[in-house]
């Protein structure tokens, strides 16, 4: 199977537009609870999922909508699930963090790190039942500090299982900068468990596809697990409506609610000496500055735009493809909205 940037771009664009529609539903109050979008990590998901075939399994994190969509799950069913309809993918029981598709051997979880054990179990099963098939685990770098994920890598290594561990590193573990809670080199850490580890640019879909192509072939032929480490940028941070991002985007509206109690507490008698208080304040400001500097809207970090730039030489074909994807999405949206359950 050769690399086909056109189809990878179509997958990414479809996912981007789909998730932007989800964001609109969320802001309109039609989707409840939290919403973790995968906008910004499309190249990693597409580069891997495009190479999966019948019998392969996926263990997804709380940000799994893109992977399910690219795997071929009906977008109408996904969206109706997110809207809480009883004819949604999981009967309105799961929501975006708990999406399941038995026929695609795909399970999601809101518990960080559990993708490891799940993928190992799927891999064990396919090793017996579908020789040549593999299991993929998608997780963030925050999960790398979760014991069960590290244990799973060792387990996959000693049992020589066909697992692709995909780490999507956006630099933030929930809403904490990862560098403040993680030590050591993640690639070296994984190699220490006997798992092959490779690093790719997670913003470049061709690079992800090529690197993971050989890792997948290796797993299919019984040569064991690979860890794929890919950097990316999450355009919406950990989740939609994250306070720090809101503050950066609308400081006048959001700042007083944060700054006033913070200042009062900083000045409150009783507590630490001034230098400790200043160290605390510095830590808070560092998080705000990191959010300000976060390269969210730098188009160089946008995997969809990057792929598009490469394809621009054939403007007519590009336009046709984009029209097609937009039309499909528009059909999905009108189907979803046409029949609201009573």
């Amino acid at each position: 199977m050769p690399l086909d940037l056109w189809s990878l771009y179509a997958l990414m664009l479809k996912s981007r537009l789909f998730e932007e529609a989800i964001a609109k539903f969320w802001y309109d109050g039609l989707i409840s609870g939290e919403m973790h979008l995968g906008t910004g990590e499309e190249a990693i998901i597409a580069g891997v999922v495009a190479q999966l075939r019948e019998g392969d399994a996926m263990a997804l994190d709380h940000r799994g909508t893109a992977a399910l969509l690219m795997r071929g799950v009906d977008p109408v069913l996904i969206l109706r699930e997110l809207l809480g309809y009883e004819d949604g993918l999981c009967g309105g029981m799961g929501g975006h963090m708990h999406l399941f598709s038995k026929e695609h051997l795909t399970a999601s979880s809101g518990i960080v790190g559990v993708e490891g054990p799940t993928a190992v179990g799927f891999a064990l099963s396919v090793q017996y039942l579908h020789p040549g098939a593999i299991a993929v685990a998608f997780f963030g770098e925050g999960a790398m500090n979760q014991g069960m994920l590290m244990e799973s890598m060792n387990l996959a290594s000693v049992w020589n299982l066909p697992v692709l561990f995909v780490c999507k590193d956006d630099g933030w573990a929930i809403t904490t900068q990862s560098e403040s809670v993680t030590r050591g080199d993640l690639i070296e850490r994984v190699r220490g468990l006997g798992v092959q580890a490779v690093k790719v640019d997670g913003r470049n879909v061709s690079e992800v596809w090529e690197t993971c192509h050989s890792a997948i072939e290796r797993a299919r032929s019984g040569q064991g697990p690979t860890f794929l480490y890919a950097r990316c940028v999450h355009f919406e941070g950990h989740f939609l409506g994250f306070q720090l991002i809101r503050m950066v985007r609308a400081p006048l509206r959001e700042m007083p609610g944060i700054a006033i109690p913070l200042t009062l507490s900083f000045l409150h008698p009783g507590g630490a000496a001034l230098h400790e208080r200043l160290a605390g304040l510095k830590a808070v400001l560092a998080a705000v500055l990191a959010t300000l500097r976060d390269p969210r809207r730098d188009s160089a970090n946008d995997p969809v735009r990057r792929a598009r730039t490469t394809l621009q030489s054939d403007a007519a074909r590009l336009e046709e493809l984009e029209e097609q994807v937009e039309k499909e999405l528009s059909n999905v949206l009108s189907t979803v909205l046409a029949e609201a359950p009573s």
Binding site: G33, E81, G84, G94, T176, F242, R277
Partner: protein, 336 residues
Amino acid sequence: MRSMFFTQAVDDALAQAMADDPRIVLFGEDTPLLRRNLLVRFGPKRVRGAPISESAFLGAGVAAAMSGLRPVVEMYMVDFLGVCMDALLNHAAKVEAFSGGKWTAPVVVRAPCGGGYGDGGQHGQSLWGWLAHIPGVTVLVPSTPADAGGLMLAALQHDGPVIFLEHKLLSETWLEFLGSGGRRTVWFDVPAEGVQGTVPKKWEPVPIGKAILRRAGADVTIVSVGVGVHRSLEAAQTLETEGISAGVLDLRTVSPLDKTAVCEAVAQTGRLLVVDEDYEGFGLAGELSAIVLEAGVSCKYARVCTQTTIPYARHLEDQILPNKQRIYASVRQLMQ
């Protein structure tokens, strides 16, 4: 007297205790951000961020408590205790017994709990009955800002492990963080009395294991905790217009239970309704029936609890969590 929001009250009581007792330290995932007001007053040595490694940092909290600190370990949600239950079940809860009563682990595990904002069945559980099942663990579930602050202070002074649960519908910060995310397009059935209320100028501990009668009633005793207390009070108000006098007892502490208060109230009314957002089977509701039976109090009994995995869809979630309509119907049935 001052007026405070629920989590503001907890943090305020915590700040008062931290100013008095340098052994108190806080840590957990995102704690520097979530407790930023405490961070800038007490400094980064006492307010720490932890990696997503619950087994390590809760286990460390238990041992730090054994060796002289008073850690408050923050779990992102009570549901995530599933990841690190061993530290509580086999260690924090066992130290006192294993050491022949010579050693304890005074760790406070602070965790948001409860549903009603559409976050699905891995993020909306209550689990206090599951936790209270373990001997050696104290479980607190406040329903008002005043109790929340007072019980936090009591937890910090207690000599064993305490789980302090903050219902997300009562917590102004958790509901904003996880439920609305700054949106004005969503609505949650938030009990006003639980979200904001008067609190003392200086915090005093609210005694652990003491229930409080929120409403006197002659016909039926409704026993509840957390948001359930407020749902029960709403139902009691409606029932009053129909001539049914329903009392509401707020347990405040799930373990140890205030058996005396429960038995006294039920002996007077002869009817016990348990309203419990936690799972129905093998939990608080059944425990309360055992307590009145053991005490020889005869009564009619019913329970309104959560029977299944909590659905993501808001309308389904509202049906399965204890709500005013279910409480009302259950009392009507008890009265027949």
